[in-house]
Amino acid sequence: MRSARFSTPSRVAVTALLIVLVSCSGAPNQEKTFVLPSREQFATVGLAIGAHCGTLDCHGDPARNMRVYGINGQRLNAFDVTGFGGTTEDELRATYESIVVLQPEVLAAAVQAGGAGDDWLVLGKGRGRIQHAGGQQLVPGGAADRCVTSWVAGLFDDAFRIACEQGAIVAAPIEDF
């Protein structure tokens, strides 16, 4: 009988498959928690990042891995238009999530250490120290760079606020051209 002829090999195959599956599985992953930079203090940071990184030809392009949302680039709401209206709270939240999920372990370690370095991709690439198609957009010590590093370090003082305000403007080197 046809079914009988294949019953034993089938059983062997199923058993082998089970063994493989069991051997590949381990104990369920334990839930990890990360202490990440402040969401509440991100609004001004998000505007600075949006100005330097979030235009449609860079991370404001939906094709980018690290998506930045806002007025300069892609809008979160299908009825909003690039270049019009301000960056919304939802867009800032979406940008925050884009940024913190990139390297949560590295970022959490930076928070714990009280500051981020170039091993965090946002800084390493933003500063142009890691291969970055967009080149250097965060000048070390510059306003936008200080805004981001202070945010990671949890230093929410006046210097942070001023750095973020200045960092949100990417002004032409001359006005009259």
Binding site: N72, V170, A172
Partner: protein, 168 residues
């Protein structure tokens, strides 16, 4: 032993960029009655073909199309598009009867970012953000405006009076 023809085909195939080829193909054919040249394909991303990979002969540093107003789709000839880059290099280009302008790569290799303004009839319209790397205006200024496009480059609102065009 492979034939020379096969080897040549293999060489050509290995040099082609299917993403670029698809992007060029997606632009479609030339508009009826408009030959390839400075007035062709207004509103399309110029650098798709003019980036050195062809099929356009000239390589553009920056190029695009300027319209009178966002809803008009009427080109704005005679406007001056000015640029300054982060190394303080400045350039300018005039729009033609199709509203098109271009700056050749031989004349300008920008130190990004680049800031730009359109000047016409005493009006100056700066772009809200700098250009960080894109050489074609239409990549970010596609028609229509929406959540991933600022809409076509234009000078004034729809109801703003401008001098009539001098183009035929």
């Amino acid at each position: 032993m492979r034939s020379p023809g096969f080897m040549a085909l293999l060489f050509v195939a290995s040099c082609s960029d299917p993403v670029h080829d698809d992007a060029v193909l997606a632009l479609g054919p030339e508009a009826l009655g408009v030959p390839p040249g400075p007035g062709h394909r207004p509103g399309q991303p110029c650098s798709e073909c003019h980036d050195g990979r062809g099929p356009g002969n000239l390589v553009f540093s920056l190029a695009g199309t300027v319209y009178r107003s966002p809803g008009s789709r009427i080109p704005l000839p005679g406007a001056i598009v000015r640029f300054v880059d982060s190394a303080l290099q400045t350039r300018q280009a005039a729009t033609n009867c199709a509203g098109n302008f271009f700056v050749l790569e031989d004349d300008f290799e920008p130190a990004w970012p680049v800031w730009t303004k359109v000047h016409f009839a005493g009006i100056e319209q700066p772009m809200g953000s700098p250009i960080f790397r894109e050489r074609s205006c239409a990549k970010c200024h596609a028609d229509p405006a929406g959540p991933t496009s600022a809409g076509p480059v234009h000078l004034v609102p729809d109801d703003f009076p401008l001098p009539p065009s001098t183009c035929p």
